[in-house]
C-alpha cells in the first residue's frame, strides 16, 4: 500500500519513519554500516536562515549592472612568495581522482580555469590531466599521502594540509573496491579491488606544535614559494583556527558538516561536526582575536549552493568559499535526463547518493571506463564555468544591493536572521528585533 492509498488511521511514526525502519532492516540484513556519498541530509541551520537588509535611507545601493563590484581575492599573502590570485571568491574543493573519474577531474579544472579560480586535488594524488587543465591547482597533503611526491608538490600552486573534512571530522578517507581500478591502485600503491581505508591521522606529526614544524618542512621543500593552507572539518573551530594560525598557515579552510564526501558512513555524515553557519563565525572570531583577519585568508565550505550562500559567507567574514557537491551537480550528477538509469540502480534523480559504488550513470563518481567515457569534460567544464559565473553574479547582485563595491565589503551588519538558532549561531539580530541570542539580553 502506498502512502497515497493509505487510510488515515495508518499513522507513520515520527520516531520510526520509513527511512528509519528501512535502515534498521538493512543493517540487520547486511551487518555493516551504511556507506554513502553526498553530505548531511538532515535539516540544519544554514545560510537560508539569514537575509540581507539591502539598501535603505541610510545605505546607498550600487547600480545592478553598471557599477563596479569587484570579486577578486588573493590567498596566501602571509608568507608565500607566490600567493594565489583568484578572480572570483569561489574555489573548487578537494575531490580525489578515484572518487571521481579522470574526465570529471579534468572538467573541474577546465571550468575553474575559465573563470580564474582554483581547483584542488584529493586523496589519491595529482593526475597529469588535472594539472594540465587547472591553471591554479591546490595539492592536498592528506594523512594517507597516497600519490604524494615532491615533483607534484613543486608543480602545484599551493599546498593544502588536510586535517579533516566536514563530512567526517576525525575520519579517514574511504574508497570501495569497485573504484580501485588499475590506475587508481597504482597511484595509491594499493592492491586492486580492496576496500581502501585511508588513515585518519597524519603519519608524521601529532598536534599543533608538530604541525608548525611540518609546515616549515613543506615551506623548505617548496622554497617558500607556495601558499600553505590548512583544512579542518568544523568542530572545535575557534581553537583549530587559532592553532592553524599559530602553526604558520597562510590560509585556513573550514568545512562545515554539510560538506560532501564520496564515501563515508552515514552515521558519521549526520552526527559529527557543526554546521557551516556557526563555523564561519567561530573562525572569524579566532582570526580577529589574533589580528589575522584578511591577513590569513579564510575559505569556507559545506553546503554552498547559490550566490546567496556565497554572499552570506563573505558577509560573515570569509574571504572565499569552496564548492564540491554543487560542482558535481552542475556537471550532471542527479540529472533528470538519467532517471531511467538511476531507476536501474535502485535510485532516482535528486536522490542519488551512492557515489561510493562506482556505478554513476553520469560518469562522474566512477572508475568504470564505459561510464567515464559518457562524460564530456569539455561540456562539463563549460557547465562548471557557467555555474561559477552565476554564483559570482548572484553574490555581486546582493553586494550591490547592500551598496558594496567589493564582495568583501559585505559585513554582518548587512544580515538578519529568520530563526533564533541562526541568530545565535551567526550572531546577527533576529529579523525585526535587535536581539542576538547569546550576545545581548534585549528582546
Amino acid at each position: 500500500m502506498t502512502a497515497e492509498e493509505r487510510p488515515w488511521n495508518l499513522r507513520e511514526s515520527y520516531l520510526y519513519d520509513r527511512t528509519v525502519i528501512a535502515e534498521i532492516q538493512r543493517a540487520a540484513r547486511e551487518g555493516i554500516y551504511d556507506i554513502r556519498g553526498f553530505g548531511a541530509k538532515r535539516r540544519l541551520p544554514h545560510f537560508d536562515d539569514l537575509l540581507f537588509l539591502g539598501a535603505s535611507v541610510s545605505r546607498y545601493p550600487l547600480e545592478g549592472y553598471r557599477e563596479r563590484c569587484d570579486t577578486d581575492v588573493t590567498v596566501g599573502t602571509r608568507f608565500a612568495k607566490k600567493p594565489l590570485e583568484l578572480k572570483i571568491p569561489v574555489t573548487i574543493a578537494g575531490m580525489s581522482f578515484g572518487a571521481l573519474s579522470a574526465p570529471a577531474k579534468e572538467a573541474l579544472g577546465r571550468g575553474a580555469s575559465e573563470v580564474g579560480t582554483s581547483t584542488t586535488t584529493g586523496d589519491g594524488g595529482m593526475t597529469a590531466e588535472e594539472r594540465e587543465h587547472s591553471k591554479i591547482l591546490v595539492y592536498q597533503l592528506l594523512p594517507s599521502r597516497y600519490g604524494m611526491n615532491p615533483d607534484d608538490l613543486r608543480k602545484a600552486d599551493a599546498v593544502e594540509i588536510v586535517v579533516g573534512q566536514g563530512a567526517k571530522p576525525g575520519g579517514g578517507g574511504m574508497l570501495l573496491g569497485h573504484k580501485i581500478s588499475d590506475r587508481v591502485a597504482e597511484m595509491r600503491d594499493l592492491p586492486k579491488g580492496i576496500d581502501q581505508r585511508s588513515a585518519s591521522r597524519h603519519p608524521d606529526w601529532t598536534g599543533p606544535d608538530d604541525l608548525e614544524i611540518k609546515i616549515g618542512e613543506l615551506r623548505e621543500i617548496t622554497d617558500w614559494q607556495k601558499p600553505i593552507l590548512v583544512k579542518v572539518g568544523a568542530t572545535r573551530t575557534y581553537y583549530d583556527v587559532q592553532l592553524a594560525i599559530k602553526a604558520g598557515a597562510d590560509a585556513i579552510v573550514v568545512d562545515g558538516m554539510q560538506g560532501g564526501t564520496a564515501a563515508t558512513q552515514d552515521v558519521f555524515i549526520e552526527h559529527v561536526g557543526i554546521p557551516t553557519l556557526p563555523a564561519v563565525r567561530l573562525a572569524v572570531d579566532a582570526l580577529q582575536e589574533l589580528d589575522m583577519h584578511r591577513k590569513v585568508q579564510l575559505i569556507v565550505s559545506g553546503g554552498i549552493r547559490t550566490g546567496a550562500d556565497v554572499a552570506k559567507a563573505l558577509a560573515l567574514g570569509a574571504d572565499a568559499v569552496s564548492i564540491g557537491t554543487a560542482a558535481l551537480i552542475a556537471m550532471g550528477d542527479n540529472s533528470p535526463e538519467l532517471e531511467e538509469e538511476y531507476r536501474k540502480i535502485a535510485s532516482s534523480a535528486g536522490f542519488y547518493d551512492d557515489w561510493q559504488a562506482g556505478r554513476d550513470p553520469a560518469g562522474i563518481s566512477t572508475q568504470e571506463d564505459e561510464l567515464s567515457a559518457r562524460f564530456d569534460p569539455v561540456l562539463g567544464g563549460r557547465r562548471i564555468a557557467n555555474y561559477l559565473r552565476v554564483l559570482t553574479l548572484e553574490a555581486q547582485t546582493l553586494a550591490r544591493a547592500c551598496g558594496k563595491s567589493h564582495v568583501h565589503n559585505l559585513e554582518p551588519e548587512d544580515l538578519v536572521a529568520l530563526t533564533v538558532e541562526a541568530a545565535a549561531m551567526a550572531r546577527v539580530p533576529l529579523a525585526g528585533t535587535d536581539w542576538v541570542p547569546g550576545a545581548n539580553g534585549a528582546g
Partner: protein, 236 residues
C-alpha cells in the same frame, strides 16, 4: 636517470652555526637545475628541522651531529648520512636515494616512503615505516609500537625487537623481525620464510652493511588480508 651534480672530490662545507638552514636547502635544491658540488658536509646541525628536505640531485650529504624533525624529507636521489640521532619523520615520503643514521631515530622514521633505503643503526621509535609505500627500511636495533602501521609496500627489517601492534592494518609491505615481537596489530600475522625471503633479507643486510646477523634468524610478518574488503565478521 640523469646525474644532476658534477663529479668532484671537493667537499662543500656548510656550517649551520653561521649559515641559515634556508640557504643550505636552497643551494641543495638549486642542484636539480644546475650542476654543483657532489659532496657536502654539514656542521653544527644542532637538531635543526628539515635539514636536506626536498633534495632532488645525486649528492652525498654528511651531517655531523644530531638532526631534528624531517631530515631528508621527500628525498630523491641524494645519499644523506646523519652522524648522530634523528628526530621525528626522518626521510618521510622518501622517493629514492639513501638515508643512513648512525644513532637512534625518533617516531615515524621512513613514514610513507615510496622508495630508496633508510638505514638506522640504533633504535627507531614508534610508527617506524608507517604507511610505507615502497621504501626499504633497515633498523639495527629495535622499533617502537605501531611500526609498519598501514604499511602498503616495501620492506621493513628489524634486527632487534618491536613494540606492540606491529603491522596494524598492513597491506602488502613485508616485515622481517629478528627479536621479540611484543604484539601484532589488526590483520597482521606471521608468515612462512621461504628462500626468496631469505634472499631479500640477505640483500637488505648487505645494503645496510650489517654482517653479524644471519638471515635465518628473522621471522616474517604480513597481512592476513581479512580487512581488504568490508565484512562484519572481520571488524575490529
Amino acid at each position: 636517470m640523469a646525474t644532476r651534480a658534477v663529479e668532484t672530490t671537493a667537499v662543500e662545507v656548510v656550517d649551520l652555526a653561521e649559515t641559515p638552514l634556508r640557504e643550505l636547502n636552497q643551494r641543495l635544491h638549486d642542484l636539480t637545475a644546475a650542476p654543483g658540488p657532489r659532496l657536502w658536509r654539514v656542521l653544527n646541525p644542532n637538531g635543526a628541522h628539515a635539514i636536506g628536505a626536498g633534495v632532488d640531485a645525486e649528492v652525498e650529504v654528511e651531517i655531523e651531529g644530531h638532526v631534528g624533525y624531517y631530515c631528508a624529507g621527500m628525498n630523491k636521489l641524494a645519499t644523506v648520512h646523519v652522524h648522530g640521532n634523528a628526530g621525528p619523520g626522518l626521510a618521510e615520503n622518501m622517493m629514492s636515494g639513501a638515508v643512513v643514521v648512525d644513532g637512534n631515530a625518533s617516531q615515524s622514521a621512513g613514514a610513507t616512503g615510496h622508495g630508496g633505503v633508510l638505514v638506522i643503526h640504533g633504535d627507531a621509535s614508534a610508527r617506524c615505516g608507517i604507511s610505507m609505500k615502497g621504501i626499504d627500511i633497515v633498523v639495527r636495533g629495535s622499533v617502537g609500537h605501531m611500526s609498519g602501521f598501514m604499511a602498503q609496500r616495501g620492506r621493513l627489517l628489524v634486527c632487534g625487537g618491536t613494540g606492540e601492534a606491529l603491522g596494524d592494518s598492513i597491506y602488502e609491505a613485508r616485515l622481517y623481525v629478528r627479536g621479540e615481537v611484543a604484539g601484532l596489530g589488526a590483520d597482521c600475522v606471521e608468515k612462512e620464510v621461504r628462500d626468496e625471503h631469505l634472499a631479500e633479507i640477505r640483500e637488505l643486510l648487505e645494503h645496510a652493511g650489517i654482517e653479524d646477523v644471519q638471515p635465518a634468524e628473522f621471522r616474517r610478518y604480513g597481512s592476513e588480508r581479512r580487512l581488504y574488503n568490508f565484512h562484519v565478521d572481520n571488524a575490529y
